[in-house]
Structure formats: C-alpha cells, structure tokens
C-alpha cells in the first residue's frame, strides 16, 4: 500500500460561550496532572528550524543529462521548463539552481523540520526510523531520507487528499442544478480543503477567487477535468499487470499484497515479544479480552497476539494530535506511542529520579532497555495501556475477518478509515474496561476513558454520536461506509468515462472496473456485517452489561470507592439504577462527599475530579445545593488544576499545546469561587501568561 493510502486509512470562529451559559465544572480530564514530569522533546523535535533552501545560485539547464534522476521529483512537485526551455522553474515559478538541488539531495534534518502528526505516524508504520544521534530519518532500506524524498512523500500525500476532495465535491455537485449557483455546502467543502492545505486545481481556484459564486455547471467542468487528471496520475502508478492481478481473486503467494515486516531489527522484536507475553497475562484475566484473543487462534488453537512495537508516533511529545497506539493494517502489528509509555513510566518513578530518566528516555533505545530490564515497571505500564492495546486489537481483528481491507490495499476500494470500525473499537474497548471494573472498581477510577465509557452506559446513541462528531470535526469529510460507497461510485464513473479514450485506456479501465466490482462486493458485505454487529450490541450486549453494572455501585462503596460507585450509579439507565436501589444513591453521595471534603491518603486529583460532577448531579437530582465544605473542597482541587495547567503551558514545546493548556487553566479558574483562597494569585499568573 503506498504511503498516501496508508495515511488515508489511518486516522488522521465564533465568540466564546457567555459566562452565564458556561458549565461551572470543566471537563474532568487532566492529561498533565498527576502524571509527574512530562517527556522531554529532545533535539529532533523540529524546534531548531526553519530549514530553508539557499537563496539564489546557478540555474540548471533542463538539457543536462545528469538531471535524469530528478524526473520523479519534477513530476510530483510541479517543476517545469520556462517559456524559453532553457531554465527549470519550481511550482512557485522560482528558478531551480544547482545549489538548491544540492540542498534537496541532502538528508532531511528533523531538528529543524516538524512533520505533521499523521505523516510522521504513517512513516513510522512504513518502517522509517529516526536516528536520534543525527536527527536523520532512515528509510527501511537503511538510506537516509533526503529533503527531496520528503517533498515527494508530502506531494503524493497532497495528491491523494486532492483526489478524495474532488470525489467529495463531485458527489455534492452531482445533486446540484447545473444553471444555479454552487450550493454553499460544496463551496464550504472546497474552501475548508483549501484551508487544510489541499492543492486545488487552478481552474477550480480561479472560479473560487472570482468574487462571484460560480454556477454548478462552471465548477463541474473544472472539477471534472481535475478529477480526470488526478485519476490518470494514480493510474500511472500502476501497471496493466498489477491491475490484472488486482482484478483476480486473492491467491496467497501469487497476487496477495505484500506486507512490510513488523519489526526492524532484533531489538524491536525482543521487546515486542516481552510486551506480548505480559499482555497475554493481563488479557487472560478478563472475559472480554479472552473472547477477543479467541479470534487470534491458529488452526491448532494456539493464540498468537499481533506483533507489538513502541515507537514515537509524533515527532514532539506534546503534539495535540497524539495517538495512544495504532494498528498497521498492512502487517497487523500494534504500535504503542513511545511518549505515552514514557509518561506512565515517569509517573511510576520516585520524583527525584524523573528528571534524569526523562533526559535518557528521549532516546527510544534507552526506554527499550529500561523496559526489558524492569519487568515490574513494564507490567505496570501495560496495565495502564491495556485499553488502547485492546482497541487496536479490535482493529486487527476487523482487518482479519473481512476482505474489506485487503481489497482497499489492492486499490479496489477507495482509501478510507470507516467510522463504523471506530464505533466497534470504542464500544468493545469500553466493554473491556467496564467488565474489568466489575472485578476491580479502581480500574474505572484510574482510566482516562472512564467518563467516555460511562456515557456509553447511559445510552449508545449519544456515545456513537460523540465519536462520529469528533471524527467529522477532525477529518475533512466524514468517512462512514456510505461515504466510501459514494467515492467508490465516483471512481467507477470516471473509469467508464476514460474507457472511450483509447484501446489502451479501454484495457486499463476495464481491469480497474473488474477489480472495483470485487471491491463493491466486499464493501457491501462489510457494511452488512458492521450494521448487524452494531444492532446486536445495542439490543443485546449493552442491556446485559447495564444489568451487570447495576451491582457495581454497592460493590465499589463496600470496597472504599464510593466515588466510583456514585459515577456508575449516575450513568445507569433508570431501570438498572432502580435495581441498584434508591437508598444506595443517598449512601454513595454521603460517602463520596466525605472523601471529597477530606481526601484519604492515596486519593488522587484525577480520581476526585469526576466525582465532583457525579456529586453535583446527585445533589441536583435531590434538589439540594452544595454544602459549604464541598464548595471549599472543589475550590481547593480546581486551584491545583489551574496551577498544573499553567505549569504545563510553561513547559509546552508545541504552541498549540500551550494554547490548550492556557485555555483549560482559564476555564478551571472561572469555576472557582471569587473569594476562594489563592484565586487572585492564580488569576494574576494567568493574566501574565495569556497572550
């Protein structure tokens, strides 16, 4: 699968709300609080930039035979001869010089260049590795990646996004009346893609910049021509032989897509095997994970967990788009994010050891050796990341159980990460956590996903909407299987259109259509399968889980965790709450309030914060106001959060992370009573920090 397709398969203003409308308690989730020291970014986090080409120089002659090796670069990045044919110009019209080519041919320096998170993750999954000593990126072949290589990768990624954008716009325009102005929805989609850096075809851009809203017919012609060009470009990436193989059913050893190796080096494999062994022990203790592991049995019944890696999945530790883990659909491996693993490791260490460890762990080799030689700490980290590993294993099972992904890799289905896959991974991940909590209520208190999973207990429809909402907001255009089918139809209609152009195109497009009809079949089967699984979950599995969870509040209270009990009690549907007992609510509230007001030893801020929300809900339900000691306890904890968020802003490398930390600090500060002790000092500090 080309990188662009892998990236597609990965996940990748108005005035503020008035104070009167704002909730008093901000969302109870603190990535930085209680985690100890944050990881250090190290030299290779792109902070020493910018990485600029030399100014001026000697223009190159297009006729120079020594330039033949640059042909792919010219084609992908838009380098072209000028009108005289004696000079080469880049896409911005600047002359290409010998000095510029020498700079492009040199290895990319990642101390000076910050890569987008999805590109970095995609490269890591393709086997590219960072050389921490030189800040070079090393290709799977062992060769350093040059600046020119990097530009070509980025250009191919842009072209892939452009193709997807054109498919979306073409679909919207298809329903528009040709003589009328383009629907605002289509224009907004095109402008949003423009803002996201997708290179728009020149004629589409001219129409948009024209100051008048073009008619659907005028825009359709430009989009149609651009889409035909895009299709020809991607057609040019494949041979007739390749298309012929993709048109046939998959025969292992003949035309099955080759997968890159999961591990690059024996060190990665050694750690991966240790992690798999530890994980197996954790998963053996939970019926939901045992059920999942059953899907990974071989013909003799032995379980083989997917290969596991620990890699930096973003270049910088505080990139706001930080994944916890990813599954590689090409080889089924699961990769944990180095930064996430490091956070949990640092939190376990005694405070006096954290600074030194953070310096060492910038280098993944040091982190790997530590994990290999400290089985207790390794097991403790896995106990914290088991939910994300479980989530990724669900994806791995999705890849195994249907032909959808394999046909996508063969080019027979439009590249996508369907949201239905995420719905299933999220709900199964929550089922795992909630089942784990039945035995160990503390698991719910420790998990960063607990509120999210309790939302699922409250109702699947709202839970699903939250996930879909988040992805639609984060990824230009939704990726439901219906949308994939729409884009697939666009590809098929363009293939039919191109068929008439020549005999060669006839053969090429016919093979594509045969392959895509195979893809259509898998897509259709996959849609039916995912819909059936979702229906089964909503109507059978979730009600059973809700019934089981009705026993948890009393159990948590008896085990000294009334806060957990109260949170579950508040989330249960009415019938299940009634099963738990009405008197229980009052007892849980009373016990939880006592622990919020006077926290016992070992009580953590991250455990208490969501309990304030549950207590507020129960008090509201009983029609009671907050007792004064609870207000004081809230102000105390919220002030700690403000301080922690201000510290996080101070240490942030990424300006987006700093802005998010400051916004969070402001939100928490706004929830503290005006006369609370220490509030004025925090407000003054925030005022100094805010831009």
């Amino acid at each position: 699968m080309p990188l662009s397709a892998l990236l597609a398969a990965l996940v990748t203003c108005a005035p503020a709300v008035s104070a009167a409308d704002a909730p008093r308690i901000p969302a109870a989730h603190l990535p930085a609080a209680q985690q100890g020291l944050q990881p250090l970014p190290g030299r290779c986090a792109g902070q020493a930039g910018p990485d600029l080409p030399p100014e001026g120089g000697t223009p190159v002659n297009p006729a120079d035979p020594g330039l033949a090796s640059w042909a792919s670069y010219w084609r992908l990045t838009g380098v072209h001869p000028d009108a005289s044919g004696k000079r080469l110009l880049d896409a911005r019209g600047r002359p290409v010089t010998r000095e510029g080519l020498a700079w492009l041919a040199a290895p990319v320096d990642l101390s000076r260049r910050l890569l987008p998170s999805n590109l970095w993750t995609g490269l890591a999954l393709q086997g590219y590795r960072l050389d921490e000593a030189t800040c070079r990126l090393i290709a799977p072949s062992g060769r350093p990646v040059t600046r020119a290589d990097m530009e070509m990768i980025a250009a191919e990624n842009r072209l892939s996004l452009e193709r997807e954008a054109l498919e979306n716009v073409r679909e919207v325009l298809r329903g528009a009346e040709s003589g009328r102005p383009v629907p605002a929805q289509a224009l907004a989609r095109i402008k949003a893609l423009d803002a996201a850096g997708v290179r728009l075809p020149a004629d589409v851009r001219t129409l948009l910049d024209g100051g008048r809203v073009p008619t659907a017919a005028a825009l359709s012609a430009g989009v149609e021509a651009a889409y035909a060009r895009s299709t020809r470009f991607f057609d040019g990436q494949s041979t007739l032989k390749g298309l012929g193989e993709a048109a046939l059913p998959v025969v292992p050893g003949f035309n099955a897509p080759t997968a890159p190796p999961a591990y690059h080096g024996s060190e990665e494999q050694r750690l991966g095997e240790l992690l798999s062994g530890d994980l197996r022990k954790i998963f053996d203790g939970n019926p939901v994970s045992r059920e999942l592991m059953d899907h990974f049995r071989d013909a003799k019944g032995a379980i083989h967990l997917p290969p596991m890696l620990v890699l930096k999945l973003t270049q910088s530790p505080d990139d706001p788009n930080q994944p916890g883990a990813v599954e590689n659909p090409e080889n089924g491996s699961l990769t944990l994010n180095h930064w996430e693993v490091e956070r949990y490791l640092l939190a376990q260490l005694p405070p006096e050891q954290r600074a030194g460890a953070a310096k060492r762990f910038v280098d993944p080799a040091a982190l790997r050796v530590f994990l290999e030689t400290h089985p207790k700490e390794r097991a403790a980290v896995l106990d914290r990341v088991d939910e994300v590993v479980f989530h990724e294993m669900v994806h791995s099972w999705q890849t195994r159980r249907s032909g959808f992904d394999i046909e996508m890799r063969r080019g027979n289905i439009a590249d996508a990460n369907p949201l239905e896959k995420e719905f299933e991974a999220h709900r199964e991940q929550c089922r795992y956590l909630l089942t784990k909590s039945l035995r160990d209520p503390g698991a719910l208190a420790r998990s960063g996903y607990s509120d999210h999973c309790l939302d699922m207990v409250s109702g699947y429809r709202g839970f699903r909407r939250g996930i879909r909402d988040m992805y639609m907001r984060s990824f230009a255009g939704s990726q439901m299987l219906d949308d994939v089918a729409d884009r697939q139809a666009q590809r098929e209609s363009m293939a039919r259109r191109l068929m008439g152009e020549s005999l060669y195109q006839d053969a090429r497009q016919l093979l594509k259509l045969v392959g895509m009809s195979r893809g259509d079949g898998e897509l259709s089967r996959f849609r039916r399968d995912m819909a059936a699984r979702e229906r089964d979950f909503a109507t059978r599995t979730l009600p059973a889980l809700q019934r089981d969870l009705a026993a948890l509040p009393a159990r948590a209270d008896a085990g000294g965790r009334p806060g957990v009990g109260l949170r579950v009690y508040e989330a249960l549907p009415d019938a299940d709450r009634a099963r738990a007992g009405d008197a229980l609510g009052a007892r849980l509230l009373s016990d939880a309030l006592a622990r919020l007001i006077a926290p016992p030893p070992g009580s953590t801020l991250n455990e208490r914060l969501p309990v304030f929300n549950a207590a507020a809900a129960e008090l509201k339900r009983e029609g009671r106001g907050w007792p004064h000691p609870l207000v004081a306890a809230y102000d105390r904890d919220a002030a700690t959060v403000v301080e922690s968020e201000l510290d996080r802003a101070d240490s942030a490398v990424d300006p987006r992370a700093r802005a998010a930390a400051l916004a969070s600090a402001r939100s928490w500060l706004g929830s503290i009573a005006p006369d609370a002790p220490g509030r004025a000092t925090l407000a003054a500090r925030l005022a100094r920090e805010m831009p």
Binding site: V11, I25, A28, Y460, G466, S478
Partner: protein, 169 residues
Amino acid sequence: MRRVLLAAAAASVLAACGRARPAPGTPVEYRAPDGAFSARVPAGWKVDDAPADEPGADFYGPPDGPDPFSQSMGISFHPARAAEQDARAFVAARSAAGPSAPADALDGTRDRVIPDVHLGSRRVTTRTVAVVVPGGFYALSHDWPTGTAPSPAFDALVKSFRPGPAPKP
C-alpha cells in the same frame, strides 16, 4: 439511514409546493420515519436515523461556515414509568451546574472530554433538554466544541419539537 437533510427536505418542498430549494441554514421540517416526532433542523445538516438502542435521530452540521460539521444535535426517546422524575434524573446526570449556578431541572449543560486512541482528546460542551411525554421522555441534546459558540439551530429545534405517539423501543 444516512442522508443530507437538504436533499430530502428540498425534494419534499419542491414536490409539495413547487417553491425553490431552501438555502442552507433555512430550517426545514424533519419527521421521524416512524412518525414518532418532528422538529425543524437547518437545511444541509446530515441526518442519521439508523436504529440504535434508543429510537431517535442525530443531526450533524453546519454544512458551511468557518468550522463545517463541528456540531451535532440528537433526539432520543427514553421510556419511563415516572417520566417527570426520570427526566429530571436524566438531565441531572448530564449537568454540572456547580455550587452557585441556577438549576433548571429539565435543561442542563456540562463539559466532557471524548478521548480517542488515534486523535487524542477533544473537549465538548453538551446541553441536554428533556421533554416529558406520556410513557417516557425525549432527550434533545446538542454538542459543540468547548469554547466556541453553540449554533442557534438547537434552540430552534427545541422550540419546534413536536412529539407524536410514543415509539416502540
């Protein structure tokens, strides 16, 4: 079932009275496939009324503007014997009114974090309004990114919401 409300609504408007297609943002009538309720939703919002645990529908929008598809609204039915009391409990569990904010028993707002293994965490503000009907209550909810302005479409949806006969769960 997934569709764009513009197309569905426009088709019915055009067929019914031959008027022009409504501009995006113009409220159009959405009627649940089983006739359980109706409400006005801006044209162009995506509708998802696929069956789930609770009968209802979800809407995603706005389709244009600086932040397209950044908000969503949902309508879901919850059967209950003590409908008024259960509706209050439902909203209470979805509110975080805090020590001094006024409490409206059937209208609550809270912040929440939606964590994702791939995308990191996103902060969302959710407002929930309960409408009590015989046999249960409807929950009308609205999610928008914390710190941004909520779309006025939700107030219009609440105002125009008309329940029909109680649906079968």
